[in-house]
């Protein structure tokens, strides 16, 4: 079946069918022409993929972010980021990167990060004298931290595929790598800004003013403290945290920023439902896809082969980086996690690699795939949001690819970056 499954998927994807449907149809084709299994398997496995309590965190975190970002919150974060780093050379660019990192603490996905403060920042940067294409490339690169800094949809899905990690431990594990990626992108921006003479933004406001701006942004930034702290101190599970985030966002939006009115609620819920429904549909289809591989015994076969090669953990991790980067050229993170993690995680565990560390490597790699052509959703979202040709944006990417590659290597070779925080938090 698998020899039909993959070619069918690639053809259907290339023709332009939506990912979820292309996966489901390729499973149908593989079942019909390559096996004696009934077609009902597709229906059954789509339900299997969806029938899970931890998965509820996906629609809830998306809903919380949608409520949060209906206006004033995004502005408050942008203003804080700008008051902190705007006065430096390339200051508007720095503010873009820092606001992405802060926004990552509210949203669970890279695309939300790019579409939220990202698009707004591109317009501000252009007014400040930056190339629009450069501003777009910077937005794409800094949005990578969306699913690395908690909360993270990708981490929720990953924890469901690998019994050795939990959503809580992954949320902790992502914090430092997320900060590292942010710092690397800041450095890249500093270098390019220096070379091209991008000016600094407004002068640094007086400390009292920064304090006032920070206080204003605090209720939004406290969400990440609430989530990470609540999980860290055992007040609630990640799934419960996602529900609490919804109610917190509602309170903050209605009573602190007063930017959210009850009559906005139906539209906001509808938006969140449609976005999360599209994510969940892909998950269901990816589960059906993975079922074919499992029933054919492919994960075990691959695992046995690779373990027999007797690679050292370092060589294995480098090979995994290459494999995942290649995979990420064509595939988005969630189907990537669904299909690859059941195969790779047991091997890495057998090689003695820390499961949290390995998870972060996989997630960073697959998320980087969002920034690479030919299939890079971040590039498409940003370029369509700011009316750019994807090709001109991609031309500005090389310095950031370099920065992100260095971050990836550091994350790969310094396990403590991913494991220290979960360990001291008792995971």
């Amino acid at each position: 079946m698998a020899e039909i499954l993959f070619p069918a998927l690639f053809v259907l994807l290339a023709l332009g069918l939506p990912v979820a449907f292309a996966m489901a149809i390729s499973v149908f084709v593989a079942l019909s022409f390559g096996s004696s299994y009934p077609n009902l398997v597709v229906v059954k496995e789509m339900f299997v993929g969806l029938d899970s309590f931890p998965l509820l965190a996906v629609p809830f975190f998306i809903l919380a972010a949608e409520i949060m970002t209906a206006g004033a919150v995004t502005l408050a974060i942008l203003r804080l980021a700008q008051s902190l780093v705007g006065h430096l050379k390339g200051g508007l660019g720095h503010a873009n990167v820092v606001s992405s990192a802060m926004f990552a603490g509210i949203s669970g996905s890279a695309l939300a990060d790019a579409a939220g403060p990202g698009a707004m920042m591109v317009r501000m940067m252009e007014k400040g004298g930056y190339d629009r294409a450069y501003a777009g490339a910077l937005t794409v690169s800094s949005a990578v931290v969306g699913p690395i800094i908690p909360p993270s949809i990708t981490m929720i899905i990953y924890a469901m595929q690998d019994q050795e990690v939990s959503v809580g431990s992954l949320f902790m594990a992502g914090v430092l790598p997320g900060i590292l990626i942010t710092v690397m992108v800041l450095l890249a921006n500093a270098r390019v800004s220096h070379r091209r003479g991008y000016a600094s933004g407004a002068p640094m406001p007086p400390l009292a003013e920064i304090g006032r701006i920070a206080v204003h942004a605090m209720p939004a930034l406290l969400l990440i403290v609430l989530i990470v702290g609540g999980i860290r101190f055992g007040v609630f599970t990640p799934t419960e945290a996602s529900v609490i985030a919804v109610f917190y966002a509602l309170l903050v939006g209605m009573f602190v920023y007063r930017s959210f009115r009850l009559r906005d609620l139906p539209d906001t819920i509808l938006r969140a439902a449609i976005i999360s429904g599209a994510v969940l549909l892909i998950l269901g289809a990816a589960r059906a896809f993975a079922w074919v591989l499992i029933i054919e015994g492919i994960p075990q076969m691959l695992a046995e082969t690779i373990i027999a090669w007797d690679l050292s953990p370092i060589v294995f991790l480098l090979a995994v980086n290459l494999l995942l980067l290649a995979f990420g050229l064509f595939m988005d993170p969630l189907p990537g996690v669904m299909i690859l993690v059941p195969i790779l995680a047991p091997i890495s565990f057998a090689l003695g690699i820390d499961p949290d560390h390995f998870a972060i490597i996989v997630i960073v790699n697959l998320t980087l795939g969002l920034t690479t052509p030919p299939v890079g959703s971040l590039i498409f979202v940003v370029s369509s949001a700011v009316s750019l040709k994807p090709s001109s944006l991609i031309r500005e990417m090389p310095p950031f690819f370099l920065a992100l590659a260095i971050a990836l290597l550091l994350i790969t070779f310094v396990p403590a970056l991913s494991t220290w925080l979960p360990r001291v938090s008792g995971f």
């Binding site: 069918l17 939506p18 339900f47 969806l50 579409a115 698009a119 439902a273 549909l281 269901g284």
Partner: protein, 172 residues
């Protein structure tokens, strides 16, 4: 006709809103009860999960209408105009056949599983699994409604692209 379409889309939208609106209330009430009274509702988690399944399928048609299902359009964009229309026409046909197929297989599956009861609510799984044929039937209607515009121009209805579009949250 336009009016009927508007009513249909609104009704579908409200169904989805009520489902996702109920989910945090149910799970939240359960957390609150546990902390305040020390008891929890045995059916809360289950109900929230099955509502999520319904939300996914009932919302899929609206997502299609707004272009929220991620697709790779590189090949499409590279083709000359008439070729693009031909390809998109073919895609619509493939999807219609697939959706129809899912409706029939979904009904078959739901019927086969109707004697199985859910663990906590003790309702037949028929009511859970019916989400799929219902959702794919809705997908057929939505696809037929957007097909002319999609084949002609490659765009969707109600896509709110100017404020970032609905692709933002999907898939990563």
């Amino acid at each position: 006709m336009k009016r009927l379409e508007r009513i249909f889309v609104r009704a579908n939208g409200w169904a989805v809103i009520l489902i996702l609106g109920a989910m945090p209330l149910i799970v939240g009430a359960n957390i609150g009860l546990r902390y305040l009274t020390g008891h929890s509702l045995s059916w809360a988690d289950e109900a929230a999960r099955y509502l999520m399944i319904w939300m996914t399928f009932v919302g899929a048609g609206l997502a299609l209408r707004m272009g929220a299902h991620v697709a790779i359009t590189n090949l499409q964009d590279a083709l000359p105009g008439p070729g693009q229309k031909l390809l998109r026409g073919a895609l619509v046909l493939v999807l219609l056949v697939f959706f129809g197929f899912m409706v029939s297989v979904g009904i078959d599956y739901a019927q086969r599983m109707q004697f199985q009861l859910t663990p906590a609510l003790r309702v037949p799984f028929l009511y859970v699994y019916a989400a799929m044929p219902v959702g794919f039937a809705l997908l057929i209607v939505h696809l037929l409604l957007v097909a002319p515009q999609f084949v002609r121009a490659g765009t969707y209805k109600d896509a709110r692209d100017e404020d970032g579009g609905l692709r933002e949250g999907a898939n990563g």
